[in-house]
Subunit: 294 residues, 2 copies
Amino acid sequence: MMPASPPRGGQTFVLRPAAWLRAVVRVEMLAVGKELLIGRTLNTNAHWAGKRLARMGSMLREVTTVDDDLVEIASAFRTIVRRAPDFLVVVGGLGPTPDDMTLKGVADALGVELKRNEAALEMIKEHYAKRGLGKVELTPSRLKMATLPAGAEPLRNDWGTAPAVRIPMGKTVVFCLPGVPLEMRGTFRRSVEPEIRRKLGKMHRKYITFKLEGVLESVLAPAIGEELRKHPGAYIKSHPRGIREGVSRIELDIAVVGEDKRGAFAEADAVAKEMEKSVESLGGRVKARRAQGD
Amino acid sequence: MMPASPPRGGQTFVLRPAAWLRAVVRVEMLAVGKELLIGRTLNTNAHWAGKRLARMGSMLREVTTVDDDLVEIASAFRTIVRRAPDFLVVVGGLGPTPDDMTLKGVADALGVELKRNEAALEMIKEHYAKRGLGKVELTPSRLKMATLPAGAEPLRNDWGTAPAVRIPMGKTVVFCLPGVPLEMRGTFRRSVEPEIRRKLGKMHRKYITFKLEGVLESVLAPAIGEELRKHPGAYIKSHPRGIREGVSRIELDIAVVGEDKRGAFAEADAVAKEMEKSVESLGGRVKARRAQGD
């Protein structure tokens, strides 16, 4: 399966910074919830948001996941804000139960008070009214969802009770979204995406995935290194998928993102073509090819 | 569906620190890989490891996910090590390709050199020999997988090529594991778990999950708060699962972890019984109950 001596054996200690618009807009996520840390719940929110952002030509630059714990939330929040991302999306912990303590943690980190927000309260009342629950008593558990850090703005959540929250703080815009996936996705689409898109501008991305067979990752590595040197703006990454019956399987991702659609697409296509040739010259085969372009 | 006035309306701003052995052994994960940040790959490694640790009576205290980027890896590593966890499990980026730069990032953060490790090299040679690939040329891509931070110890990886790595540094033991799930799980089970278990001691956990219907989370919240005040060592968390045909659905998790098996189990059972009574008195129903005890 493997040629005795791979034709390219060049230096591969390139260790270059990752491409993909790394400097343009920095978006981070802080995911809050013990269920994510004890294997109860897969963090599909980070996965979903990362994919949405990648389609826009952006990405999540870092995801931090912490426990339902005031000290941990406040400390992680402070650490992230020190990096001054353009956007910080905090997910989870906005609900009515004692474990929902995200807004208190954020207020502690910001050094501001939590206070009743009348607009948020209206949203919550409206939510119950719409559900046909009639006149609902505003118990402390419900008032809690309308109790926001000073300076925060509530954002409509048409998919659940707790409003999302927007907090501008210097260079960084902070969004706090509910953790229930339906609510997270709805509020992200409605309030987070448009603002990131405005800052990012229109970006184009071409993303090509190959399924390869018959070439080991260690044999392919120098060809990837060489291609990255020729195309420093491209993203090229191999994902080994195991060796079955002596045949190595790899998925190879190629992507180029840019403001210039034609340029980005042409470069991605060129890289794909060159990688395909390399794979074949190394004794491998391309079994499938999938492309996505926006 | 909802009583006009919930019988318990007490103060719920408890915001207590999370229970579950928070202080005993702190384990953190640093997951490296752009595929996790662009929605290409779900972080099943964090989910799996969190579940394994939870079964032992521990948990992941924090998960940090970063890009394949030297600066980001080194910076996240430094931030985590400042928190002095007992164990830091770094996952991903050990392979032969240019994007695999975890060990360089760790070496940078530690201020040590990367150097050829002869034991690691033997493991890699053995791996190729076992796969029947015969005499394999030690190209730079392959030597890279045997190039470790000074002071590191390679750990057998029987499921892939790149050895895992153990680096003791003061209070913290650092493990670097390959990111391919099969390899991550194998090396975690073989090398990480036994060492954490030795430090943690034998812990027992009872975990009970209820499926509830007919009670809103905001109605249940005060009862959870009250129960947590009575059982400060217990973990009680509700996961809203939406409202279908006017009926609210919730999953309620209850867990107690402790060295004393009988005590932990009895407390979890008592909490479950009391919560069940609360749910019924609030007009809800327990539709299903699942229990796990180790």
